[in-house]
Symmetry: C2
Amino acid sequence: MICKIEKQSGTAFTLKKGQQLKVIDPMGEQVSDMVLFNAQDPREKLSSGKTLDFQEKILIGKGDFLWSNRCNKMMEILEDTNGRNDFLLAPCSPETFEIMYGNNDYHPSCFENLSKNLKKFEIEPDDIPTAFNIFMNVQWDQDGNLSVEPPLSKAGDYLLFEAKMDLLIGITACSAEDSNNGSFKPIHYEIL
Amino acid sequence: MICKIEKQSGTAFTLKKGQQLKVIDPMGEQVSDMVLFNAQDPREKLSSGKTLDFQEKILIGKGDFLWSNRCNKMMEILEDTNGRNDFLLAPCSPETFEIMYGNNDYHPSCFENLSKNLKKFEIEPDDIPTAFNIFMNVQWDQDGNLSVEPPLSKAGDYLLFEAKMDLLIGITACSAEDSNNGSFKPIHYEIL
């Protein structure tokens, strides 16, 4: 069954070890932020630094693993039809819009959508790690300057993950104009 | 007074808002991993994702700030004579040597040296974030492949930080052969 994450929103759910999760960009040019926690002990969680360490690259895709702060494999990426996913930038938050875009009004954000949905699993906002940015098109130059470009994902592009431990998962349809070329779109997912 | 962090070791101390910290590579080609916590509430801590977000670059140096998971400025970098510091890879840990180098024997590591020294401030190993890698020479290509090269730092190179809040600081002289060109050296620091 395909589940729908409405634009500028998020969800959280459990995934058992061995289950597969398909994350789909149904319309193209949309980003999804994903965070992972060990369902048995949520102090073990997704680590950007450990994943870059063990995979020895910035772009994480097919054949790679997502690693925890305790150096365990949390997910394997079995398929990736787009190829541009990374850990560089944090989930957009109210402060992203305030500090980077001078927007002091309310703006939905991935951080809020992760916090709100993970609350039922007793995950506090402070516990949310740097997310895995699915379909996010961050470009860099040799000097390390970063820019966020429109996603390269086409309608129907997807990543297929397999859980390597029992997981709590938080996931969003990104709320930031910069990440999805100014259009707010849903993200779909399927548990297999 | 210049304080010395012996090779393959670490230390932890407090720094008051407005105080300055100088981190020095006394011999050249050595790396130092640094983590920061809000001294009043250590659940607020250094964030790689937020720092890359707000500074919009991978290399963090003079004029840049180190940001927290709550989007506050923790440190300002007032001076940086080397220019190559980043947040890409996690502090080396026992698992780094086991998984990446097939070394199953005991090996000192930055993670152990941070954990051990931060214990007195009730910081648990699970709470240690991806560190700021001072003097670390991580190179990347356009495809995002990463390699760790010998540091470019020369004897006497330093970074000068100013605390923007009361801080708990954990800092090391790196224990990994790959980070410091196979030589284990001290790191010096000075609180001004």
